[in-house]
């Protein structure tokens, strides 16, 4: 089906933000957040806001978002997304306020809450696409890919910002370990999605999948994270990792839509000759 760019942008921005909240939380636990936490929480807040706006443009009419809000407790996929998007935004704001007030305990508690919410949002973004009617989507590889993609983007966003605010190199090293884990999760997730959905072997989609998603979206970030771990000073590696992760994230999401045919597209089939 057609690529729904509103939703691609939404899940990309919200995923990146959610991933970065996770990394703030991890840094809080290991005590390595320090200078980076505040700017990243601000960026995360902005990304969540922009993501929210992108998702609203997908609705029939943007003002309809109020209906979505009033029906938030229907716990449908879209309301869960909205719910956790809102909660994450709230946490990002509280975290930013807390870190401005230099409340170490406050940032730690809020950061850990953010970690939990971020992880949930990373999953929620994908789980609403677990729809039986779309066989290509309906496998664990899809939410796992959203999860992995979001974490890798969030992780590289974290180190990119951390580098630019001159966070201690040893602290970044610790973060790099987590990024390596996230990148491997993404790699596994993408492969799982690709194989289970069939896009990995579909001649029309395989090139995009293997190059943009697997190699650029997960392979390069893994290498970057490993190299960064070895030499945290190389800022360019963080940039490359971030850009690659974003490219992979876009590619994955676009492919998801392209491959997302229903069981039977009656109205489409009426206009074509069915292959037999």
């Amino acid at each position: 089906m057609a690529i729904q760019w509103s939703l691609v942008v939404f899940s990309l921005l919200a995923g990146c933000a959610a991933g970065s909240l996770v990394f703030i939380g991890l840094a809080e636990i290991t005590g390595t957040a320090k200078k980076a936490g505040f700017p990243i929480s601000i960026i995360a807040g902005i990304l969540l806001l922009l993501g929210g706006i992108a998702s609203v443009t997908h609705l029939g009419n943007p003002v309809n978002v109020m209906s979505a809000v009033t029906n938030i407790f229907s716990f449908s996929g879209i309301s869960l997304e909205l719910l956790f998007l809102g909660l994450s935004l709230l946490v990002a704001i509280i975290y930013a306020i807390a870190s401005r007030r230099e409340s170490a305990l406050g940032t730690r508690i809020v950061g850990i809450i953010g970690l939990v919410l971020g992880l949930i949002l990373c999953v929620v973004l994908g789980s609403s696409y677990l729809i039986a009617a779309r066989p290509a989507w309906n496998n664990f590889g899809l939410p796992l890919s959203f999860f992995g993609s979001s974490l890798v983007m969030g992780g590289f966003l974290f180190v990119t910002v951390a580098n630019s605010v001159k966070v201690d190199k040893e602290d970044i090293k610790m973060t790099c370990v987590w990024i390596i884990v996230a990148a491997i999760i993404a790699l596994v997730a993408y492969l799982a999605f690709g194989l289970l959905s069939g896009v990995a072997l579909d001649p029309a989609q395989a090139a995009l999948f293997w190059v943009a998603v697997v190699i650029i979206g997960a392979g390069i970030p893994t290498v970057c994270a490993i190299m960064l771990h070895a030499n945290t000073g190389r800022k360019s590696l963080a940039y490359i990792g971030l850009v690659s992760a974003v490219i992979g994230g876009v590619g994955f999401r676009a492919l998801m839509w392209v491959a997302g045919s229903g069981v039977l597209d009656i109205f489409g089939a009426a206009n074509s000759v069915l292959p037999f």
Partner: protein, 195 residues
């Protein structure tokens, strides 16, 4: 109660009159359809061929995924007729119902910014007085409307004429359990699972 269409493909000749009848009855604009007819075939190699047509529209699934994913309750099951409908006033146009529909029979109305689909002409049928426009217009008398749980309905009576090996459903891999039945006798054509 399972109100739906039963469509006898032994009769259908794919003339598309049901498509036009639906559009006139429901005031649908150019490019918008609530039903279409899929040509299945010709299959085989000339001149040994088979062909039939599947008129397709909302399948009135028992386990309607469109209803369960709707964030606002706009996709709902009518309490009176048990028919799956869309309340346009509460539809926010999020498209999730369309993603959840295994059969691609929901269309987005770009002017009203809401999702639409076949209503089984509920404005005519809900009180039991009328039939869907496509059923009335059908040029081969291949469409039958009614409650599958009522043995006296047109739909049930038509089904009762055929052996079970002539009665088919669209693929139910999504587990939504479509109510709509298609009749196709093996001597007309072998049923092909569509995908």
């Amino acid at each position: 109660m399972r109100n739906c269409l039963v469509i006898n493909l032994d009769r259908c000749t794919g003339c598309d009159s049901c498509v036009a009848a639906c559009k006139f009855e429901n005031g649908l604009g150019l490019g918008i359809n609530w039903n279409r007819v899929i040509p299945v075939g010709p299959t085989g190699t000339h001149p040994d061929l088979e062909m039939y047509w599947i008129p397709g529209q909302c399948q009135q699934c028992a386990n309607a995924a469109c209803v369960s994913v709707c964030p606002t309750g706009a996709s709902y099951r009518d309490p009176l007729t048990n028919v799956v409908l869309i309340e346009k006033a509460t539809c926010i146009g999020c498209h999730y119902c369309a993603y959840a529909c295994p059969y691609g029979v929901r269309v987005f109305n770009e002017e009203e910014h809401v999702m639409e689909k076949c209503t089984l002409c509920s404005h005519l049928t809900a009180d039991g007085s009328g039939l869907p426009a496509c059923v009335v217009a059908c040029t081969t008398g291949c469409r039958f409307y009614g409650d599958l749980d009522d043995p006296d309905s047109d739909a049930s009576k038509e089904l009762a004429k055929y052996d079970t090996d002539c009665i088919h459903l669209l693929p139910d891999t999504a587990g939504t359990h479509p109510a709509t039945r298609y009749i196709l006798s093996p001597n007309i054509a072998k049923w092909k699972e569509l995908s």
